[in-house]
């Protein structure tokens, strides 16, 4: 994000204060499909972010629509809590249609 503070990063660089904010780019490849995350870029403001997103991520007709979101505005689940969050779904096999064994003659319902 815009203020990396990992221990491996010496934060003393004064130039960092002038770095353009980071944006995440989402592209809809064609009507009917979802916007999909495809990368990030630096831009000073929303208009520039959209313009740069077009130039950087859709040079070969990869998109018909672009979203940009400031990276520091994204709220994400904590990777440290991945198992706590997602593992409970593992033992709920009855949520899948294949859990139910039906007679062959009606198995296409």
């Amino acid at each position: 994000m815009t203020t990396p503070s990992s221990p491996s990063t010496p934060a003393a660089d004064p130039a960092m204060a002038t770095e353009w904010p980071l944006w995440e780019v989402f592209v809809r490849s064609k009507a009917g499909l979802d916007h999909k995350h495809c990368g990030s870029l630096h831009a000073a403001d929303p208009r520039m972010a959209i313009q740069l997103a077009r130039d950087v991520y859709t040079r070969r007709q990869e998109g018909t629509s672009v979203w940009v979101v400031r990276s520091d505005q994204i709220v994400a689940s904590d990777p440290g809590e991945k198992s706590m969050y997602f593992d409970p779904a593992q033992d709920k096999v009855y949520r899948h249609p294949t859990f139910y064994v039906l007679p062959e003659s009606v198995d296409h319902m």
Binding site: M16, W20, G39, L41, R60, A76
Partner: protein
Amino acid sequence: MYTQAMDTMGKDAGDTGNKALRSAEDMQRQEAFDARIDAGEFIEAKDWMPDHYRKTLLRQISQHAHSEIVGMLPEGNWISRAPTLKRKAILLAKVQDEGGHGLYLYAAAETLGTSRDQMLDALHTGRAKYSSIFNYPTLTWADMGTIGWLVDGAAIMNQVPICRCSYAPYARAMVRICREESFHQRQGYDALLTMMQQGTDAQRAMVQDAINRWWWPSIMMFGPPDDQSPNSAQSMRWGIKRVSNDTLRQKFIDATVEQARVLGVTLPDPDLQWNEERQAHDYGAIDWSEFWRVIGGDGPCNEERLGARVKAWDDGAWVREAALAHAAKHTPARAAA
């Protein structure tokens, strides 16, 4: 675009990997990490990773990004001199691609916890390296075709295995890059073919001259021989590197020989010949002293290339500042809401 085996540059990076004192918790994390690598899983940006893994990737991805950006210079030199409007449009598109590839890669490197400005500072002060191939001059139009054919061709050979790199943000950037890269090699070969088949004797001689100059630097792009590539084993272990330098070099040479024959040019290596027993081409000794000299800063164009990057950065400072000032002026207290 362009990478060379970047582990060649880790000579002075020091082994910070396994010496530091580590807590029991870190040991457990390390074991879990190794198990994930062994299982062929991808590592994402926020996942725990060993420090040395992070540093190795940061060095490789940022150097790869720098190579894309510096790589725009030798070809940019010929945009205004392209022989036809068609070739000019093609070259513009290619150079723009290289810029885009640099941006994908900088973004991937930033996920490892460094800033764009820090990476650029490392490049501009000479602490970070870029591919040695861009320190050679582009003397004629035939150099454009030859760079596309040989330099981009070697880069593709290098980059395809990185699409399966264990670090997911890097792998995703490489997938995108490789998808765009094929046109770079084909347009170069096409430009050379046009000169060889429809050109004058002087133009054909120009093509041969360009190939004579670029051949050896191109096959050096795969990095030093496997037995002189000390960091390769660790990178292989971590799934950062998938195929060895010599294996890739051999594959490139074997593919290129037939392409040269169709083109009607010779590759400047008297020892280059098919070895029936190995089912591969033998080739002559590579002058590695030249490679290390050019990487070390003493190539024909090192100063010029770096000078151009530093000048562009310094001259653009007021634009970067003005854009931020403009943005601040036009986003009134929205953040406070």
